[in-house]
Amino acid sequence: MFEAQWFFWGLALPALIAAAVVLGANCLSRFAWVVRIAPAFAVALGFEVGYFATYGWPNLPPVEAQEWVFLVLRPVALVVAVLVAARGGAATGVAWLLRLALAFGAGPLLLQPYLEHTWTAGQAWAWLAGIGVVAAIVWVLLLGLEKRAVTRDERKHTRGWLLMELAIAAGATGMAIMLSGSQTLGQLGLTLAAILAAIELAGQFTKYDQLDTSHVDVPLVILVGLWLSGCFYAELQTWQALLLMLAAQVGWLVEQPWLRRVQGWRVVVVRLAAATLIAGGVVIEAAVRFSREATDAYY
């Protein structure tokens, strides 16, 4: 059950703020690095507003999983984005170290109750290493996809559409988590989806730096946090999370030899259609299971 005002405070306002940050940076700033970093700050700021609308003020120090995402992982990812936008040799190296720290640190931060109450030491090492490796692979593949797409002149129509794919994955993550029993956690996914879609659309009217990937880290770390929280604290199934990760990566499809003939705007259509198909499938399955298990309205 949504409270009506959440649609404004948790969905529309974060999206508007994010779009305003991107457009404002493009219109007002003379510095290229400000324009480059704007999408990362737009996601971080928009998510801040959406988080407060959904959960209110977080505990300090963080207590619940989503608070670790909000208070720790998101700021570190923002630092990564700044380092990437700075484009120094050392900055790039530090950014990669921080990405690795995020990929392998998200598990221990978010899954503390499992470390304390559930897992043996062996299980904990296996789980955390596995989660870290999967998160790192997702990270590397997404950054690789973005670089690969933007360095092909004939495919410049794919500019920035990675964020829309992430938006589709985030929206489906939110819906699937809601349908698996946790409304508030799911709302964060919808907030992220609205923000990313707004940035993507605003980005179509702005200058575009083809070598920039600083917009990937902040949304990705939030998504990783949602996938982990959804699987371990709500009832999101592991296979659902893996399919949603695949939906975010589906742009690799058009890099396959048998689809290389696809050019121009068709690339965008194929990428978004494939992401929607996978993510939509996850949501439909979750909806069917929800309606099968639901007996009556209990609130």
Binding site: Y55, V63, E64, Q66, H117, F232, Y233, A294, Y299
Partner: protein, 196 residues
């Protein structure tokens, strides 16, 4: 001189030993009771849409009780309640209550109450302690009414208490669905202890 020094050391030693023996002695004199979980109930009620009350209970309660009738300060009440055991009679609703929207049972598997101070009160005890729920610890005061004590038909010595209290779930960070599900939670608690 050395004799005087020895006396001082002896006095200090006696004082330290006396203190170290007396401190735990206060609790040690209290009689320990094991919680009889089959005759213990932690029941709650909460408003639905401001129209009616929905009732539920926790089926997994563990606890320790120590009673010293002559020294209420030595009494102790400790309870640990499994949030996973919440039971409102409807599986789907219980699943939702366990989710991150409410108890977040996988992150916060237990609710605990730890005694801080116990004072004698009419027909029982006034217990001040820390209630930890949903990752938030708050000091609350409970008026425990002693319902009775004595031997049961099987020769065990029992003691039983009951209390009712109200808490606000928002005080413990449980702020979801405030329009549909009330903020104030009424707790009805009754428990029995069996002398060890």
């Amino acid at each position: 001189m050395s004799n005087r020094v020895s006396r001082v050391w002896l006095a200090a030693l006696c004082a330290v030993m006396g203190f170290s023996l007396a401190a735990p002695g206060a609790r040690a004199e209290a009689q320990q009771y094991g919680l009889d979980t089959t005759h213990t109930a932690f029941v709650f009620s909460i408003k639905h849409l401001g129209m009616s009350y929905t009732y539920g209970r926790f089926n997994d309660v563990k606890g320790e009780i120590a009673i010293d009738p002559d020294n209420p300060g030595a009494c102790n009440f400790f309870f640990s309640i499994g949030t996973d055991s919440v039971d409102t009679g409807l599986q789907k609703r219980d699943d939702h209550l366990r989710s991150p929207d409410f108890f977040n049972a996988k992150q916060f598997p237990v609710i605990t109450f730890k005694t801080g101070k116990v004072e004698a009160a009419e027909n029982g005890y006034r217990v001040t302690g820390v209630l930890s729920l949903h990752g938030v610890a708050k000091t609350i005061t409970i008026d425990l009414e002693k319902l009775g004590e004595g031997k049961d038909p099987w020769g065990n010595y029992r003691i039983g208490f009951a209390t009712m209290l109200k808490i606000k779930r928002s005080d413990y960070g449980m702020t979801n669905m405030m329009e549909a599900v009330g903020d104030e939670v009424k707790l009805m608690i009754s428990f029995e202890g069996i002398k060890q």
